[in-house]
Symmetry: C2
Subunit: 190 residues, 2 copies
Amino acid sequence: MKENTGKSKYVILGMLARMPLTGYTIKKWIENEYSHFWQESYGQIYPSLKKLVAEGLAVSSDNTETGNRRGQILYSITDAGRKELSDWLREEPEIEKLRYEILLKVSFGGNTEPEVLLGHLDDFIKRNEKLVKDMNGYMEHFDALKVQGTDCTYSQLTALCGVYIYSAMRDWAVLAKEIISEKEVVRNSE
Amino acid sequence: MKENTGKSKYVILGMLARMPLTGYTIKKWIENEYSHFWQESYGQIYPSLKKLVAEGLAVSSDNTETGNRRGQILYSITDAGRKELSDWLREEPEIEKLRYEILLKVSFGGNTEPEVLLGHLDDFIKRNEKLVKDMNGYMEHFDALKVQGTDCTYSQLTALCGVYIYSAMRDWAVLAKEIISEKEVVRNSE
DNA sequence: AATCTCATGTAATGGGTTACATGATTTT
DNA sequence: AAAATCATGTAACCCATTACATGAGATT
């Protein structure tokens, strides 16, 4: 037996707790604001929304009459939904299982030329460097909002985590490159 | 259409490249040495091994006669397997998708009491603190092996990555706690 | 007219864990 | 004799992405 571990439900509830949204905008928001630590596809979002309504945790308003353009369906959270969200927030977060393919390749590095790994590490450094910049951009954006009186402390904390994690990955990769290169120098001089 | 993205195959090939192993020992090794950045279950390992043999990338020797205790099956890599491994190592590693439930909860933090988040962050700090210790333990272990003349550079690099990543997560969480607590002080004094 | 974006949705497929089934050997 | 560990394996299930289908409204 296994209880439902699907998190899509709670991501959606968390977003609806701020304001009513359509499935489409939920997807777009996750892409823009959560993508560095979470992702959801339409294949998860639309069925989840229907389930939320069936469970009384959200209500849908497909008011095609009331000036609502296109066939869009707005979902709003209910009191039961807020309760469900709050209960979930109290539960201990699941221990994250990391799957870094680059580490797998590094650990099997003896089966290829050092240049191959150095190349992968270069790409990795560039990618993480860009992510650090993006995250710092978010940080500044949130600082600007704070000056205007909008409190974004919690969102900003996730961006800060991004800064920390991507900086660490970049720094590791830079050091890893040095260690691999040094090892090669030693090997060649023997 | 979608090409096969299953990585189990390559993890197993990478391990077999060092020495012949049974499915059971592959599982145990992954648990002990790779668990901080990779995981595989028996449900993946046993079918994958059979597939590897079918593809000629590995051979099995269930020599129950030749003193092999129990029904264990030893798998060895073939030349074709080494080629396959080497080809895969050259491919660009897939971009890792992170899923940090704790960040989700932090970002929805406005829907619960700050104490709830502070509690989660405490657990998170303890967990990462322990992981940093574990990784440093591995680092020393590899240093000791290096003194004995065994080259473990690549394995050690993955442990080093662990040190970096878990330290970063811990540091972030410590700072996050401070920021949340401070925010509360301000809120209460208003 | 064509194309792009908005918008909803489902079916197929893949990837992975969990639970279960089975049995040998070793340890207590 | 019982329990723990070694050892292999499969079926059910869950989670998630991808590909596809459909169509409205806006833009070029």
